[in-house]
Subunit: 276 residues, 4 copies
């Protein structure tokens, strides 16, 4: 439900949600600093030596961050023209998840594993990336990935089938005595191998196993060319299209080729440009 905003709400809204230069930009920079600082505190607190030495201090700092983020969350909610929409948006949920864990940890003293949930806070950093005017850049990446999502889905399905087959082969060839204890473990080995990570914790020992593993490695080594090719080809197109920056005056859609003279969506004629 869209409500009427008061002047104060509108003012706050512009500062908190806006990215324009001035107060909105400064607010975003302060928020980035706060988020990074709060993440660093969580990281340091997880190191045993630091936890035993400065555990209480970290807890107090953590509460400080939580209170600041709580105030920020309710201010966002208050000044939002459509509260429900913000609360249910991806960023709204991330904002809530960033403050909830500390309160839950107070209620449930043993809930240390929720510590991770606090890390979701780091996802908020994406919101302020727009500050850096990277939006248009990120858009190109996102459109290229979106255009190639079907090809990438086909590719990943193929990879999973391939890894299952290699995992099963190695389970039968090497067997539990060589560390391939079950098919899921063998598939884990296949993923480690075909993705060229190669921990070396599970390794083939028989001649046949090594031959099959070598085939898997060569396939994994070469097949990386496929997603790279897909994304490169799409990115090259997106970058070329980005260059045109033509927006149709009629339907206001962009994404036209450089040599387009009519909008490909509504057929409206573009104004004549100088031949570049």
């Amino acid at each position: 439900m869209v409500r009427e905003q008061t002047a104060l709400q509108r003012k706050f809204y512009e500062v908190i949600f806006g990215t324009s230069r001035g107060p909105g930009r400064n607010f975003d920079l302060a928020l980035i600093a706060l988020i990074i600082a709060s993440v660093i505190v969580v990281l340091l607190d997880s190191i045993p030596q630091y936890h035993s030495a400065y555990g209480d201090l970290f807890l107090q700092i953590e509460w400080g961050f939580t209170i600041i983020f709580t105030v920020e969350y309710f201010t966002r909610l208050w000044c939002s023209p459509n509260r429900k929409r913000y609360a249910l948006s991806a960023f709204g949920i991330v904002d809530l998840l960033a403050i909830l864990p500390t309160y839950l940890a107070m209620l449930l003293p043993g809930a240390n594993s929720l510590l991770v949930v606090r890390l979701i806070r780091i996802l908020r950093i994406f919101r302020v990336l727009r500050l850096l005017q990277f939006l248009s850049e990120a858009n190109v990446l996102a459109r290229a990935l979106s255009n190639s999502r079907r090809k990438i889905f086909v590719f990943f399905s193929l990879m999973l089938v391939l890894m299952t087959i290699f995992g099963c082969l190695m389970y039968v060839i090497e067997g539990p005595v060589n560390g391939f204890g079950s098919i899921p473990e063998s598939i884990y080995w296949a993923i480690v191998t075909i993705s060229t990570v190669g921990y070396g914790d599970v390794v083939p020992h028989t001649a046949l196993g090594r031959t099959v593993a070598a085939c898997g490695m060569l396939i994994g080594y070469a097949i990386i060319a496929v997603p790279t090719g897909i994304i490169t080809a799409e990115l090259a197109q997106e970058i070329g299209r980005e260059k045109s920056r033509i927006n149709c005056r009629n339907c206001e859609r962009s994404g036209h080729d450089l040599d387009a003279r009519y909008c490909k969506y509504c057929g409206d004629r573009f104004p004549d440009r100088e031949p570049s």
Copy 2:
């Protein structure tokens, strides 16, 4: 031999082999679910704890899947206009291989290694990929790979020669005392290294061996650029060609985007296509 199909056969044929919306699509979705479920049962059955606890249950489920797939196989055979062609096609053989192992395991109680053959069932999942209308996407990938097959063959021949040479060098330099027990083992090491997997189970220990290994790594690291370049260049061409399939009826120029509805050169409207 192409036979006359009865109306019932034609009806079944359309449902089982078709991918159009409606019954054919629902049949394919059910088949995907069945195939994935049967694969998961095989995976779980290979874990020792689960096998000893639920082994009998898994066996019964396995028989259930086998009977269903058997019925499906014979229905496909029955409603096929050309039975021999289906039986000898790649998918026909995969379908047969998906049901045979369970029957063989009954006859030969010790044939546990045939368990792997049952996994070939997972290959069937490819058949239903067409359901997802990824055919045109997969086509672009397949054509790009097919166009570059000679270059990729040349590349792999080069890689094999390179790996043989590095394997022999390391066998002579490091020798059996450092884990390079024979030339095939050393070639295995070379494949592990040049593909940048790097298990670390066989590792050079001498200064000269490490220098040669470092050269191999740098070559392996850089040479991945070659298949990537080949496939990217072909894919970019295929995507461009895909675009050029659309010709404007008015000005007869091509090169339009796949989502274009108006000619970008003359503004003529394209005939409406089915939303894909």
Copy 3:
């Protein structure tokens, strides 16, 4: 402050700073040889056997190099038209850093760790790369990287967030008993895994941990396509732009290859260029 150069200074300046054929080129080649030789001495001196056997010899050679580079530094300073600008330029600072450590080591006998600083000397090798006329090539690379710096920054931010999330997940899932002693250590593991290095010194042991690790590997394996795509697309544009620098004087069309001597559109002869 730009000073008047004497004839001698101008002569020296041309030899030392110039890259043209003749004396300037020979000076650069001698400098490359000296720099590489001095780096090799540092490398050899760090090997314990060689240090105990030839330590004194290495020290004398090191002093020889230091004196040569000191003379070169002051000559550069002396013949430079703008001394301050040279002294504060990147190469001027590198030149100073290449000679300072040896003198410091004499004053502070225990300052062995400054040995590394001496290695900064290797940075000087970049200066003489221009000798090889690679400048135009390096320019294309540099422009492509510069054009894509925002996209690459967005990509690296995404990677860091991804690695932090995977590190935290694994810290909670695997915990200190499996080698994931703290979140920073787990993030180190995530970087080792997602970059597909895969040392195998820290490895997941639980089924859930292995599943999460497998996801991280697949993401790391596929996501390399993004920077590759970005840089390839930019490089292709840069190379295309490089080509378009040549305009035919007759028909004024561009897009000629770098080795073209006649216009491919009208057959007009291009003015002869220097062989590069």
Copy 4:
């Protein structure tokens, strides 16, 4: 010195050096089989069990191959129109190297390490690759690599400097107690890490060392995009140019763009083609 060939020599020349269908093709196929068989014998002979069981048999087979290749070598020499040119060509030297080691091993009974030299025989397989008409494909690869050789040289120089710097940093940070015994060893570690091979035989243990190593990994992970981009961009151009297959009638040089109407090397006009 070019000699007059007798009819018999010309006949032999066509069969041995030719790749056309018929006798030349059959000869090449037989040669490929012989070369692969002789390499397999060397591989098997290096496995201790097989060597002790079939060592004598392998020796006899090896002599058989050596005699065949000796006869082939002298026949090539005999029927060659320019003997000196063949003997000094890359393939001529490889052919000689393929037969010499066995004779040397007879004279010097302890020369087992020459066994590797015999493997050079595998290089001959390249000569017969032309049989498969892959020449034009390999040409495209070779031209793309040749066009980008300067950029790749710049890239490798940068990589070596980078690896030296990382190796020195880690030597100072981790030191001999953590396995970084000398700067060359640390550079070996840096190459293993930055090329994303990651054996895990040398691994950082301090917090600072792991941080520096993580930076090296991320750089190594992302920087692979540079050679890939270079080669892809060149390959895309080469493939496009290949498509044109226009040879100038005047200077007979190829490599023209698809839209070229005049030879870029001699300015000759191409015959008018249909607009495609």
